[in-house]
């Protein structure tokens, strides 16, 4: 190998035939190889870091079980793989946080106005978890969103947050409506969102900004459009509103998990809102007929099913972290009644309760795991309990059949669900904090429940957390307070009927008062 070199002297140009030495040639070859390998290494490193970035799955964890319950992930954030994302109901965290500013007119007051609970030191409300998935900071819902409530002594007092209590203040339907509406709003543009995200002090790198603009934001819209279409009937105004503290557990499930065409179902079947239940003290409940209609007798399967409602899928669910919640609620004690109890009156109430209530509802010792009552946790036929039938009928045999295909080919596949013919007799631990009453929350207080249906309030407001220690329940005659508008509840509507459950309604007033006093000790 050789090359010509030109050397200019004073009077001529010398042209040399320079032969590269074998050593030089070898050096050059080595250099070329080195550069080649280096380039390859750089490419591999970039690819690896991209793969790492987009396949990382890092939940934000909390060592304290209560904090985990409130803020920890159960896997409801979008997951799967970048090419085939699965699950998730909410947009990525930065978008989720600025959404109330993008559509301020749709949600004045922000998420708090919907009954989401904010605590100091957390930038997201209770019930919203964080997790890095698919290369982005995602958010998801967890158990506590529907199972954490507040109680206050008076409208001036500060609210006490009780984890595991029904979220009787939460407007979940309006929350979903807001997220769907705003994501499909004309203001949901990359410029608008990225501007708001910057204003909010959320830092996005240049790559993130690009990806948000060209991938994340368009894809969020697209997925939301699908979700909104499948849930149109449920989120519309043709069926009775859920209102604060209630959810239609199974109808969204029909649309989201099974892609049923809901507009081909009778409207009556799409009416199924019922109260959020409490989560404490699960151990003695295992094997009982769970859910309001008693359609499942396994606490674990019920938990897994409920988490589908929060947005997990068989692909994205985080079993170990769900189990942490399960282990915590297994023996979580119900909150003790926070006010004075008249012991003598309660003792009289216990005697009455034993005759009229105990067989189905067990006594105050259920909180310690004592199940004293032959029919506790069994299904009371509709003809006997006589309460509103809509929730029962919204859960059909056909739906149960579909549930058995969930978690296919795995040990988690659903096998316990079944159609029933009534509503389950609930144990009453912590019943003071579980108002309003009946499965559909159609009766505001315990004392009202002991009146005949005609004497129960026909119209009231749900969602106030000011406690009424006389009737035992929440104040229900105020349409708005503390910046919240409460849900007007009309018991004349389908699904809202307050009839039935006539046990004890014929008792003299002092017996009823005494039973209510005794129930404070549960």
């Amino acid at each position: 190998m050789s090359r010509k070199t030109r050397t200019k002297t004073r009077d001529q140009v010398l042209i040399d035939d320079v032969r590269t030495s074998p050593v030089d040639r070898d050096l050059a070859r080595t250099l070329r190889r080195f550069v080649g390998w280096l380039l390859l290494l750089i490419i591999v490193l970039i690819a690896a870091s991209l793969v790492r970035r987009f396949t990382a799955d890092r939940p934000v964890d909390y060592s304290d079980p209560v904090a985990h319950f409130k803020y920890g992930s159960i896997g409801s954030e979008p997951g799967g793989s970048l090419l085939e994302a699965a699950g998730g109901l909410l947009p990525p965290e930065p978008i989720f946080r600025v959404l109330p500013q993008i559509c301020a007119d749709k949600l004045p007051g922000g998420y708090a106005a919907l009954g989401f609970l904010f605590e100091d030191g957390h930038d997201l409300p209770i019930g919203v978890s964080k997790r890095l998935r698919l290369g982005f900071h995602q958010v998801g819902l967890n158990c506590s969103v529907c199972h954490t409530g507040t109680v206050r002594d008076s409208s001036q007092a500060a609210p006490r947050i009780i984890a595991g209590m029904p979220a009787q203040q939460l407007q979940l339907q309006d929350f979903f409506r807001f997220v769907l509406d705003c994501t499909l709003d004309s203001r949901f543009t990359a410029d608008n969102l990225l501007g708001r995200i910057e204003e909010a002090g959320i830092e996005l790198g240049w790559l993130d900004r690009l990806l948000y603009r060209y991938v994340v934001i368009p894809r969020t819209r697209e997925q939301t459009l699908q979700l909104a279409t499948s849930l149109r009937l449920i989120m519309g105004d043709k069926v009775t509103e859920w209102g604060r503290g209630r959810v239609d557990t199974f109808n969204p499930y029909k649309g989201m998990q099974f892609n049923w065409q809901l507009d081909r179902l009778p409207l009556s079947e799409l009416t199924g809102a019922s109260d959020f239940p409490s989560l404490w003290n699960q151990e003695p409940r295992d094997g009982m007929e769970l859910h309001w209609d008693g359609n499942n007798d396994s606490v674990d399967e019920r938990n897994l099913s409920a988490s589908l409602g929060a947005g997990v899928t068989p692909v994205t669910v985080d079993h170990p972290r769900l189990k942490r919640v399960r282990d915590w609620i297994w023996n979580l004690p119900p909150p003790p009644y926070p006010y004075d109890v008249d012991a003598a009156k309660a003792a009289h109430g216990q005697a009455v309760y034993r005759i009229y209530c105990q067989e189905c509802h067990a006594d105050h010792r259920f909180k310690d795991g004592v199940i004293d009552g032959a029919k506790v946790g069994t299904v009371e036929p509709l003809g006997s309990v006589g309460t509103d039938p809509f929730r029962l009928h919204s859960y059909t045999y056909t739906f149960a059949a579909n549930q058995y295909t969930l978690y296919p080919e795995s040990r988690y596949r659903f096998t316990h669900f079944h159609k029933t013919n009534g509503y389950a007799n609930q144990p009453l631990d912590g019943i003071w904090a579980r108002a309003p009453y009946l499965h559909n929350g159609a009766v505001p207080t315990l004392r009202d429940l002991l009146e005949p249906p005609s004497a129960r309030p026909a119209i009231f407001y749900r969602g106030n957390d000011v406690f009424d220690p006389v009737k035992v329940g929440f104040v229900s005659d105020v349409p708005a307070a503390n910046g919240l508008r409460f849900s007007r509840f009309d018991t004349a509507l389908d699904g809202n009927h307050n009839g039935g459950h006539l046990w004890g309604v014929e008792l003299p007033a002092e017996d009823k008062d005494a039973v209510v006093e005794y129930l404070k000790t549960f």
Partner: protein, 486 residues
């Protein structure tokens, strides 16, 4: 370079090639052909009947993951919301598949059908209850043609692509890379192709009345699929049948199927498995024999377990039955289980719709008798009868609607003149009417759930079977009450 080195390199290459070929071969065998034993919940015959294989998975099975996502991908092709259950399939609590479906791994898990699909009766005591299942009874709810059509429509849809199906599967499970490749490049395209071919083979169903829930045209599909006999303009739509209590019929050599086209129970069962999609080579003969033995003494459920019977009235009905019905319908009568040829004077002018009988031609019978030649299970008892069997009436209360084509909704209506029988009704709503003896066939729920049967359509006539129609009303009540005890 020396020869030894070249030689050695060649040898190494050869060894590598062999290893590669055997690995690929093993993978192909493992993922496409390897048969694994079925995992059933227990060893009982009932379990096998409901979920065991009759050999249909190999040629007619659908890859499990495709089967699982199809109803979610194409809900618009189902008769109602409800996934597969919308087609009337019966789902027992906690089961992965409905009754009548079997999962078998031949390379990959496949879903096929078995006898129980059409031979499991259901009953609800109220509209919103879960149905109770009675093995061996005729299904009144499943819509077999709608199932086929759903699959055809899905396969014809441009969205039936590997990408879309895998995207849908990725929502419910994480497939391994090799499974993903298998589904993407082999199973989805092959399934689509097979379904589209089957769609062609089912084109004849488009030009005649639908089967609807609880009915099937059992012998026109095999004419095309395996016998190479033209369907022509025949219509074979008929009710699914009970397979209870077959011992007396089998032992006396009586006729099976509505038209009595075969008198040998073993042949009837093997040919049914073939009709369901088994092949000559995939027929599980031992399992079919086990099912055969079990059906010999399988008993129908008793009406009295669900609804009251007026015993005095029923006793009064015995004599009426003996006089008017027993000759053809009592279990021990010599005419029971034999064919009454259409046109025979014994019909007394009351011939029922002739289509089902005319569907099974001598040509078809000859072809089926030749089909198994050379196999140990070869057929020889197929025949064309041109008539209908006098069926035994065990469990008749649960076998509604009535007549071979299911054109009469209630048993009390069969005792009325044809002009008085219902012209249009709905089949497939399995809530029972114990007074009239039959499944509720009218009203909003029946219309929403059921398929419409118009008795004026070809093959659906509710004419004929006039015996008993002239009885006095109180005699009819007594006879009906007696029939509840069978």
């Amino acid at each position: 370079m020396s020869h030894t080195v070249t030689h050695r390199k060649g040898l190494i290459a050869l060894v590598l090639l062999l290893v590669l070929v055997s690995v690929l071969g093993w993978l192909a065998w493992d993922h496409l052909l390897r048969t694994r034993p079925q995992e059933l919940a227990d060893d009982s015959i009932e379990e096998y009947f409901k979920y065991g294989s009759v050999g249909t998975e190999e040629a007619a099975g659908i890859p499990l993951w495709i089967w699982l996502v199809l109803p979610k991908m194409f809900p618009e092709y189902l008769p109602a919301p409800g996934g597969w259950a919308a087609l009337g399939f019966v789902w027992e609590q906690g089961r992965e598949l409905p009754v009548g479906f079997s999962k078998k791994t031949i390379g990959f898990p496949r879903v096929g059908i078995n006898c129980a699909l059409c031979h499991s009766a259901t009953l609800r005591t109220t509209a919103d209850a879960a149905p109770q299942v009675f093995l061996g009874g005729p299904s009144s709810t499943i819509d077999a043609l709608a199932y086929q059509r759903f699959l055809f429509q899905a396969a014809s849809d441009p969205r039936f692509t590997s990408g879309n199906i895998l995207a849908s599967v990725s929502q419910i499970t994480k497939l391994s890379l090799i499974d993903r490749l298998l589904y993407r490049f082999v199973l989805v395209p092959q399934t689509r192709k097979a379904l589209l071919e089957q769609k062609e083979a089912f084109a004849w169903t488009e030009t005649r009345p639908d089967w609807g829930r609880g009915r099937i045209d059992p012998f026109n599909p095999p004419k095309i699929a395996i016998l190479n006999v033209p369907v022509g303009d025949t219509i074979g739509n008929a009710d699914m049948q009970a397979i209870w209590n077959l011992r007396p019929r089998a032992e006396a050599g009586r006729s099976f199927h509505w038209d009595g086209l075969n008198t040998d129970l073993r042949e009837v069962i093997i040919s049914s498995a073939l009709g369901d999609g088994a092949t000559k080579k995939s027929l599980p003969l031992a399992a079919l024999e086990r099912i055969e033995t079990w059906t010999l003494d399988l008993q129908p459920p008793s009406f009295a377990n669900f609804f009251p019977i007026d015993q005095t009235l029923a006793t009064a009905g015995v004599e009426i039955f003996t006089t008017h019905c027993a000759a053809c319908h009592r279990a021990d009568s010599t005419q029971t289980g034999t064919v009454l040829v259409l046109g025979d004077v014994a019909w007394e002018g009351g011939e029922t719709d002739s289509h089902r009988a005319e569907m099974w031609t001598p040509e078809a019978a000859t072809a089926y008798n030749a089909f198994g030649d050379g196999y140990p299970w070869y057929f020889s008892h197929f025949r064309s009868t041109g008539g209908y069997v006098n069926v035994p009436l065990d469990g008749i209360w649960l076998r509604a609607p009535y007549l071979h084509n299911g054109s009469v909704p209630y048993l009390d209506e069969l005792l009325e003149r044809p002009a008085m029988r219902t012209t249009v009704f709905y089949r497939g709503f399995d809530v029972y009417n114990p007074d009239r003896m039959g499944f509720v066939a009218e009203g909003a729920d029946a219309e929403r759930v059921g398929t419409r049967l118009d008795t004026r359509a070809l093959g659906n006539s509710n004419r004929g079977h006039l015996w008993g129609t002239d009885l006095a009303p109180e005699q009819k009540r007594a006879l009906l009450e007696y029939l509840k005890t069978l």
